[in-house]
């Protein structure tokens, strides 16, 4: 059964890499914001998988809760930035 969780962990990592491509390619900053939010929530799941594989989940669960809360705050702060500052794309436009 533990071997199965390793497999699940691999699949999850592959999917995170997929989302990561969108984070690299994303034209505007807000697309990257969504990708970072997804990677944040998925890192909670990966953390729980690691806890199960190491059979010490009672320690890892506390950090997973911490991750969930802090990811929420970072996303809200970044999103609220655009309320006031209206420029979405910086003047020169292209991202190096």
């Amino acid at each position: 059964m533990i071997e199965l969780f390793k497999l699940f962990g691999f699949i999850l990592l592959a999917l995170i890499a997929l989302v990561f491509i969108r984070a690299i390619k994303g034209p505007t900053a807000i697309d990257r914001l969504i990708c970072v939010n997804i990677i944040g929530t998925k890192s909670i799941v990966l953390l729980v998988f690691m806890g199960i594989i190491f059979k010490r989940l009672d320690m890892f669960v506390d950090i997973a809760i911490g991750y969930g809360l802090l990811n929420f705050i970072a996303s809200i702060a970044a999103a609220k930035f655009y309320q006031h500052n209206k420029t979405l794309r910086p003047e020169s436009g292209d991202d190096s």
Partner: protein, 112 residues
């Protein structure tokens, strides 16, 4: 019991696969965040439910595993409250900065 756990986690992974493909293929900012917001929370909830059941089953329903079960449930509740709100904030920010909706340009050229 193992079957339920495997089914739950593979369902969660499947939905997350849908989200990932949605993020890559969908053309516009709004459609992408639409896919991200929903798929993300659902897949997290399913996978964490599967892990919680596995812990309960593994720990033979002892006191410690119930505590871990409740903590995993609290994570699910937080993600259920937090992630849609964050998606709302993103779309609101996108709308504020005048992000254009995606119009199917190919049809537009063919029709006139």
């Amino acid at each position: 019991m193992n079957i339920i756990i495997i089914v739950l986690i593979s369902l969660g992974l499947f939905f997350f696969f849908g989200t990932a493909v949605g993020m890559l293929r969908l053309p516009d900012f709004y459609t992408r965040s639409h896919a991200a917001g929903k798929g993300d929370t659902l897949s997290t909830a399913l996978i964490l439910l599967g892990c919680a059941l596995f812990i309960m089953h593994e720990g033979h329903y002892s006191g410690a595993s119930i505590l871990v079960f409740l903590k995993l449930m609290s994570i699910i509740v937080f993600v259920f409250i937090g992630s849609p709100t964050a998606s709302h904030a993103f779309i609101d920010a996108g709308y504020e900065t005048g992000e254009k909706q995606w119009s199917n340009k190919k049809q537009a050229k063919k029709k006139p």
